[in-house]
């Protein structure tokens, strides 16, 4: 079970993004991105490299100015938000070698001090530092120098720093890039705990479908600066993978037909009505993974120039399906032995 069963207690909107656009010089990086996140939701922005994930998250974090569109993060525009807003937000950065000389507990203790004035009756800020260190599994390293931590330990410290102020909303940009499978698994557990325990809204970016499926309640697929799909993993499989393969045997021969768009049921009904000898009927839908891989492949081979301009939010399904059709033969019937 990757998605959490309990619905968030309030229907409040934590993130509201409408028609977000970003242009660097003449290059359009985001061409109209719109989505919402309710409080307590775990959202994954999934997409190949260069899809605009990092740009989107950096605009929401208030680290980057957008070209156009409306953005509300916890009810405020990140471009003009104040420090009180910043205190309700957690940004998990990928540390590299900053604060290398600092001791783990001293660094967290220092950063925690900034949040004390923002404590409210509802949310006690910040976290108790020792409790937080235990929660992220760094108790044995509380007195270690940051530069002596392993990669996985350092990333757990990054998470601890990101949440030390008990944020209502946490941003994670490519949190497990460069992780070995074990570290990745530990990290996933940590994110789950955070989401379940604190009812924190989480937005993370990843280019790994598996990770998005494991962590997120909802996945938003970004490609070429626009959203091509938005939903749970199951919904995504239905929405994004519109191709299916129909195979059957008739008159001792094996037939294959590719349905590239829409529901294959109609084709099957027609087939059965026309041909009474059909046996061994199989209908196979392309897996979400197949579809996503072909999307990634297309993004890598075609580069930037074809992306972006080809689609607007309305006909997203056809855009995704049209781009990934090369895996299957077109409407021709093939004969195999």
């Amino acid at each position: 079970m990757s998605a959490r069963d309990a619905p968030p207690p309030s229907g409040d909107v934590a993130l509201d993004v409408r028609d977000l656009r970003m242009r660097y010089g003449t290059k359009d990086v985001l061409t109209g991105v719109s989505f919402e996140a309710r409080r307590g939701e775990v959202l994954a922005l999934l997409g190949p490299n260069g899809a605009g994930k990092t740009t989107t998250i950096e605009i929401l974090e208030g680290f980057r100015m957008r070209s156009a569109g409306e953005v509300l993060v916890l009810g405020q525009d990140p471009a003009h938000a104040d420090e009180a807003w910043r205190a309700r937000l957690g940004v998990v950065l990928q540390s590299w070698r900053d604060h290398g000389r600092w001791q783990v507990r001293e660094l967290l203790g220092y950063l925690a001090r900034f949040y004390v004035p923002y404590s409210t009756p509802e949310v006690t800020r910040p976290w108790d530092v020792d409790e937080l260190i235990r929660m992220v599994g760094l108790a044995e390293h509380a007195n270690a120098k940051v530069q002596n931590l392993s990669g996985g330990q350092r990333r757990r410290l990054d998470v601890a720093i990101g949440i030390v102020g008990r944020p209502e909303l946490v941003f994670l940009d490519e949190p497990t890039a460069g992780f070995d499978p074990h570290a990745r698994r530990e990290f996933h557990d940590l994110v789950h705990r955070l989401a379940d325990f604190e009812n924190t809204t989480i937005l993370l970016t990843t280019h790994d479908l598996d990770e998005a499926e494991k962590l997120a309640d909802r996945i938003i697929v970004l490609d070429g600066g626009t959203i091509v799909a938005n939903g749970s993993a199951d919904q995504l499989a239905r929405e994004l993978t519109t191709q299916a393969e129909v195979r059957w045997t008739s008159g001792g021969r094996r037939h294959v037909h590719a349905v590239t768009e829409g529901d294959p049921t109609g084709f099957v009904r027609g087939l059965l009505a026309q041909d009474q000898e059909v046996t061994e009927l199989e209908v196979k839908r392309a897996s979400l993974e197949d579809t996503y891989m072909s999307l990634v492949h297309r993004a890598e081979t075609s580069g930037a120039e074809t992306s972006g301009a080809e689609t607007s939010g309305a006909d997203k399904n056809t855009a995704a399906a049209g781009g990934s059709g090369q895996a299957l033969s077109e409407r021709t019937e093939e004969v195999q032995s």
Partner: protein, 290 residues
């Protein structure tokens, strides 16, 4: 609205206090680090070497030990050099390794960062000054040592920090890469030439004297000499006077300039910082090694 303004003020004070703890912690880490300690103790060591070479020599035409004459100039120089190059190079490094981005992601984090930096440089420079001055008084008996010396030195130290640290912060923010800090060291060294620290400024061509007097080094050196040398040594200075008022005025102008410029330049630089700029720097380090 009163509650929100109180919170804002409270939060800023909390950030200042956090910054003070940051400055203290960073000083502690810096003193424990052998690489940093070398810098802190560089001036005392340089002075020892100078003393060794100047043994027995006196200021030309006067019965005054040359070694004692050089000490106050070195005090001024170490304030100026520490204040000008230190903050600039750490800001350039902190920017690339993500330290500044962390400050930006924390409410009022930039206030804490700046307060911490200023305190750290003040403390490490003070440590290095103490290490320079205390043994020197024991060696060079001709130096003046009274309440005026002490008060003037503390004042010059404070004004010197104000005149150099903000300017340095601004310069560091202008650098594109941490590897360019070498330029700052070079520039700083060049400014020392016409500053009258190693060579009496009155012996230099007049236009060089004007260049020297435009920058803080000369005035820091002059101020330190006025604090530590006997009154009669003023005769060797421009206008045969310590020019204390002018000294504070010029350093004050540099302080105002820095205090006005630094936040503007720093804010402009910090606005551009994001996860991807740090990632780009990291990538460059991985592939090119600098």
């Amino acid at each position: 609205m009163t509650t929100t303004t109180t919170t804002r003020t409270d939060a800023r004070w909390a950030a200042v206090r956090a910054g003070l703890s940051r400055g203290w912690l960073e000083t502690k880490y810096s003193i424990r680090e052998p690489g940093d300690l070398v810098w802190t103790l560089a001036f005392p060591v340089i002075y020892l070497v100078v003393l060794l070479f100047m043994r027995g020599s006196t200021v030309p035409g006067m019965d005054f030990a040359l070694g004692a004459m050089v000490l106050p100039s070195l005090v001024g120089m170490s304030i100026g050099f520490g204040g000008l190059t230190g903050p600039a190079s750490t800001i350039a490094v902190d920017r690339e390794d993500g330290t500044l981005l962390r400050a930006k992601a924390t409410p009022n984090g930039m206030i804490g960062y700046l307060v911490g930096k200023i305190l750290m440089f003040a403390l490490t420079t003070a440590v290095s000054l103490v290490a320079l001055v205390i043994p020197a008084f024991a060696v060079a008996g001709d130096l003046r040592l009274d309440a005026r010396t002490f008060v003037l030195l503390v004042l010059i130290f404070l004004v010197g920090m104000l005149a150099t640290v903000p300017i340095s912060v601004a310069l560091g923010s202008l650098l594109k890469r941490a590897s360019q800090t070498g330029l700052l060291f070079l520039g700083s060294m060049l400014l020392i030439v016409p500053s009258g620290i190693f060579y009496p400024i009155t012996a230099l061509p007049e236009w060089v004297q004007w260049v020297g007097q435009a920058f803080p080094y000369y005035w820091l050196g002059l101020g330190a000499r006025s604090a530590m040398l006997p009154e009669s040594m003023a005769a060797a200075e421009i206008g045969e006077s310590w020019r204390t008022a002018e000294m504070f005025a010029v350093l004050g102008v540099w302080a105002v300039l820095g205090v006005v410029l630094a936040p503007i330049v720093l804010r402009r630089m910090a606005r551009r910082e994001s996860g991807s700029t740090v990632a780009a720097a990291r990538e460059r380090y991985m592939s090119q090694g600098y």
